[in-house]
Structures are given as C-alpha cells and as structure tokens.
Symmetry: C2
C-alpha cells in the first residue's frame, strides 16, 4: 500500500478471481476490521436491535470481509439498512423452535435478520450434536444470512463437522428452463484438522457467482458460454441477455457437462431449507434487495436455511479423525500439478489466505462501498471516519 499524491490510499485490492488472488490497483481505502465491525453493530443497534444480536450480525459481515468475499460483507450493509428502514426486517424477532424431535428441529426466525437468526439456529444444531451425536435445524421466516461458510466455521471451533445451506431469490434456471426458478442456493461444510487448518467448502450451486456477471456488465465484456442463458433459454456470452429476462445456469451448465447435477443440488438445498421448514421455495423466495421484485405468490414464510452439526466422537476418535484430515490435506497438496498450474488447492485455502492478510493489513473497500457507509453515517449520525 502506498499513499498517492493526493494523500488518499492506493489500495491493492485482493480480489478473488479463480480462487487466486490477483492484485488490482483501485482507488479506495483500507479499514481495520474492528472499525467496520463496530460501525456495523452500531447501525444495527440504531434500529433497536439488541446489542448482543447487533454484534453477532456485525461479526458475520466482518468474517466475509476478512475472508475476501467482498460481496457479502459491509458492501451489503446498506441493503440491510434499507430493509430495516422500510420495516421489511423485524429488529426484535422472537426466534423460537416451533417443532422438535431429539436431533432435529424447525426454527421460526420471526422475520429477523438472517445474520441473527442463522447463528441462533446454528447454535441449536451444535448443541444437539453435542448431546445426541448430530443436530439438524431447518429455519423458516428468515432473511439473507451472509456467507454460508460462517456457520460450519463456528462448528469447527467446537470440534464438530458443520453444514449450512440457504435458499435465495430466484436467479438460476433449471437445466432446459428459460426462466429463473431457483436461487444460487449455497452449500457449506467444514471438517476440522489437527495441526492443519480446517477443510472449508462454501460453494453456490450455480456455475458462477452473480458478482462475476455484474463485473462483466460494468466492463461491457463478454462472459464465457455456460454462465447464463437468454430469455429463450439459449446460451449467450452477452451478460446483458441475463438482465433482459435471462437467467444464470446451474453448476455443470449444460446437459453434456452435468448441468442436471447443479440443478439437482440447487433443488436439494431448496427443499431442505424451504419446503422442510415452511418457508418460500423456488421462485417464491422473497428478494434480499429493494430493486428486486417481490413474488406475487407466497407459499410459506420468508426464506429458509438448513444447518447441520455432527459430533466426530460419535463416529470415531476425534483426534484420529483430525490427524487423518491433516494427512488428507498433505496427500492432496502433493497431487501432481496440471501443466501451467501450481496444483490443486485445499477447499478453503483462498479464503484463509485472505483472512491472514486482511486481519493484519485491514479490509480494502472500494469507493462506492465507502460512499454507501458514509451515506448510512450521515443518515444515522453514527460516526464513520475514512482515514
């Protein structure tokens, strides 16, 4: 990082591209994570959210920024702010178990922040895992819960295997469909290592993150075949075709390459999160952002999540498992590399690398994100200082 002549920072933004971090020079500023976390918490408290919940919500956003998933961190604070301002999210939800049987439960989030409902439901799953070997919680009447990877990381801290899924607003067409019917419906799971860091899987079931299509739109660039279809369901390399009534494609993209599998995974997430909990499934999942249309039909309450936790000791000696995970990592790191690559990564590598750098060096935010935070500051009178 260097100060440029105008005194502001020239930020080396480490942006995730192809699970490799490429350095990109952009105007922006760098913020210590604690400063962002504190600001976010105060913004949530501004709406009457209890301090413990506000700090919890801020922690989820911060984890995303730390792990380099810029799209899901404070860059989204303004959307949460808008939803709370309009009364679309309940700041004081009565989150409760509505049905339960030993190792499983359904939680009603009472339309609270997903960033609060999610951690609460995940905790129930983890507590059950410690008592009954495993715990599985489906959640209805909730909202966007941040990065799915946050939840299994919490489980790993307690030496559990953790799972998290959520359904989201429609963006993806089923294979052979010409309209948006499913969200990008992510699946996350993490396994603790002994001396090695955990294996952390956190993946959308779409071929690509929406953010990459957005980036191509801004740059007026073409996108690879297989990311999106146009309004007739035809393959296209023009990202504008997706905006004009098209849709994203599921992982696998087309039949020959396994597009039916990505669709099936998205369907699985949809059913576990939404049908099983009594939330809105498929195309009826309510949107997260204001610009998105609210579906005319409702088949349940809010969106849905699904959390799982398993106690390793219920299956095998915990340390034996963790040592085998270390060995798994060592063996996979030694895979013969494909020509022109450094060889396979271990799931979670790029995010961990980002976290190591960003917890020391701070979080680089682009100017539009900083402007959003300054706008919130102006409207709430919560101070936010740009260095």
């Amino acid at each position: 990082m260097e100060r440029d002549r105008r005194g502001s920072l020239t930020v080396v933004v480490r942006r995730k591209v192809g699970k490799i971090f490429v350095a990109e020079q952009e105007k922006g500023s760098i913020f210590p994570i604690d400063c962002l976390k504190d600001f976010s918490a105060k913004v949530f408290m501004h709406f009457g959210i209890a301090e413990v919940d506000a700090r919890q919500a801020a922690d989820v956003l911060a984890k995303s920024d730390l792990r380099g998933i810029d799209s899901h961190g404070v860059a989204r604070l303004h959307t949460y702010f808008d939803m709370l301002t309009l009364g679309r999210i309940n700041p004081k939800p009565n989150i409760k178990i509505v049905r339960e049987k030993v190792s499983v439960a359904t939680v009603d989030g009472d339309n609270g922040l997903g960033l609060v409902v999610g951690p609460r439901a995940n905790e129930i799953a983890m507590d059950k895992a410690e008592k009954y070997g495993s715990g599985w919680v489906s959640v209805c009447h909730t909202n966007h819960f941040g990065i799915a990877g946050y939840y299994p990381l919490k489980a790993v801290e307690r030496d559990l295997i953790g799972w998290a899924m959520t359904n989201t607003t429609k963006l993806v067409a089923p294979l052979w469909g010409a309209e948006r019917m499913l969200g990008t419906n992510p699946i996350a799971i993490a396994f603790p290592g002994y001396k090695e860091p955990p294996v952390v899987i956190d993946m959308a079931t779409s071929a690509v993150a929406y953010g990459k299509i957005e980036m191509a739109l801004r740059k007026k660039a073409k996108i690879p075949r297989g990311w999106v279809v146009d309004k007739n369901g035809g393959m296209t390399t023009d990202p504008q075709d997706m905006i004009d009534g098209g849709a994203q494609l599921p992982l696998g993209s087309e039949r020959e390459m396994g597009g039916h599998k990505g669709y099936a995974l998205a369907a699985m997430v949809d059913v576990l999160c939404a049908v099983l909990s009594g939330a809105n499934w498929g195309p009826f999942a309510p949107p997260f952002a204001l610009r998105q249309e609210i579906p005319a039909r409702s088949v349940g309450k809010g969106i849905g999540h699904f959390f799982g936790a398993m106690q390793i000791d219920g299956f095998i000696d915990k340390d034996e498992f963790k040592k085998q995970i270390d060995e798994w990592i060592h063996v996979f790191r030694k895979t013969k590399p494909a020509a022109g690559t450094n060889g396979p990564l271990i799931p979670g590598d790029p995010e961990r690398e980002a976290e190591a750098i960003r917890s020391k060096e701070g979080i680089p935010l682009l100017k539009p994100v900083v402007d959003d935070l300054l706008d919130i500051s102006r409207r709430t009178r919560i101070p936010f200082e740009v260095n």
Copy 2:
C-alpha cells in the same frame, strides 16, 4: 421388440443419454426382472452368503436394471463373482456397530458385499431417524454398494428423507491436478411426494459417468472438452488420453465453470464416507474390479459409505411437507422451456420412466452381459436360460 430372422430378439435398448431415453437397436435379449433377481441371488448363495443377504444383494442390482442404470445392475454380477471367487469379499461378514451416539453410528462391514452392508447400515440410519428425528451412519470396511439411489428410495418408503454417499476407486483429478485422486463419489437424496412420485437425486460428482467415456473408446469417437484430462492435466477430447495416465474431471470441469465445486463435493463425500468411518480415503480406496490396481498404501479399512435419514415429522407435518413437494413438482414442471427442449425434468424422472417400462417389459441385456451371466452359470451350474 421383434423377433429377427434367426429367432433371437432384436432388442430396443433404452439407454440413458442426456436424461432422455433414446431407442437403439442392438442384438441382445430381454429378461423378466424376477429371473435376473433369482439368478443373482443364487450366485451369491453359491458362495455361502445367507439367503436373506443374497436376496437383498440381488434386489439392489435389480433396482439398478429396472431404473435403466445398466452399468450398475447384473452387468456387474461377474465382477462380484470374481471378487467372491478370489476371496476378496467376505461372504459371511459380521456387520456391526463399532461406535455410536444417539443419532449417529459407525458400522464396520467386515469386508462384506456392499450390497449387503449398505442396506444394513441404511436400516440403522432409518431406525435412528424414527427414534431420534435423524440417523447418520458412516461405514468402513465395505465394498461397492450398487446405485446410491437405492438407499434413499428405501427411506422414502418409510416416509423419511434419505441420503446416501460412497467413495470409490480413484478416477477423478482434483481441479488443477494431473492424476487420479478421488472416485466418482456419488451423492443421492430423495424426498417423498404425496400423490406425486418422490424427487430422487442420484448423481456422481464427476462431470460425466465413466461409462460414457468407455462408450466413446469403443466407438473410437471424440469426447467433449471438459470430461477428462491427459497425463499432464491438459484438456483433451481423445478418450484414450484418459486411459493413458489421464483422469476424469470433477463436475464443473474447469475453474471458470466451477470445477473447484465438483472437486469440493467429491472431497466432502470422501471425508464423510472414509475419513469419518476409518476407511481408505482419496487415492487409497481399493478397487472394485480385478483389472484395477490395488493401491500400495492403505490408510484404513475397505472403502466407505455414508447414510442419512431424517424424519419429516420432526420438522414439519408430514402430509403438509409431501403436499408441498407435489406443488414444487407442479411448479417446476411448468417452467418455461428453453427453446428446442421440452423443459426441465424433475430429478428422478428418467429412472422412474425406465422402471415403469422395464418392470412390465423386462430388462434388455446386451450380448456381452448375457455371455457373462452364461459364464457364471457354466461355472456354478446355476441354470440361466436365454429365451
């Protein structure tokens, strides 16, 4: 079906291509499922396998043939026969729970047939689900268990949500790798409907089934880019490059299309099935067929499976769930079709269609498969009649 001039049958083989059944004229014969089932059971009993287990194993193979997954049915009986003949599979295993905690358990299959160990372990998961809301069983020291979809279908019969996974012999390279490190590691899950048939997901985590590469090899045809890499990890359209030290690619195929996601899913299956149970994981999973090399290193016992079952009533009223699944199916069937297609299928459609036809019309077997069965018949003196 028509008799040709030589009196044998010209079989219209319904082969799964692109989740569409295309009719293909091939020489072969048609067999009633009960005849194949009975023959398989007697072959298993020939090795001293108890009748109840032998019939169970035959049922798994038959389900595969019924559902149109020709590669996993009696076409594999000769391989099981070989493994049993050589004493590589234990005909009288002492299958037992070696560790347990309320909703979870680990089962040691004592090197029995996966077709016997799998159903037993799945039953434990289902029993636990009925008692504790969910049941999760990791299995070590087992062998190939047939189609993954068999197990969740059993769960659905008991109004449960069922899951099954297994690790398999190495065939797939992790993204950016140039060698085989993981199996095609399938994931299956099924959800019961009310009046509609269940939604059944059963998918390998590789981009494509090995059978499709084999078919191209036989026809000396090119394959699409993204199915396999050569021994240097480079993309190739020549299936022979895979045989000559190459590997299959995970779902998503390359980084830009989400190949890291398919790799992550295969890794998840590997850990849940093998690391969690104490079986051989990754490249150390022992092979199913004789022609495949036995890995020099062993890190556990046999291969591993993972079964899950969840009682719907623990989460939500069972009938309410099943009616919503029906509605989910109706809504997804009405998706606007992509140009040139009939629109999206519901996961499980092609297999169910095959089952409806084949349970009436019988199972068409190609000549090499019939020859294999005749060879077994000759060697065991168990009668097998070709009509």
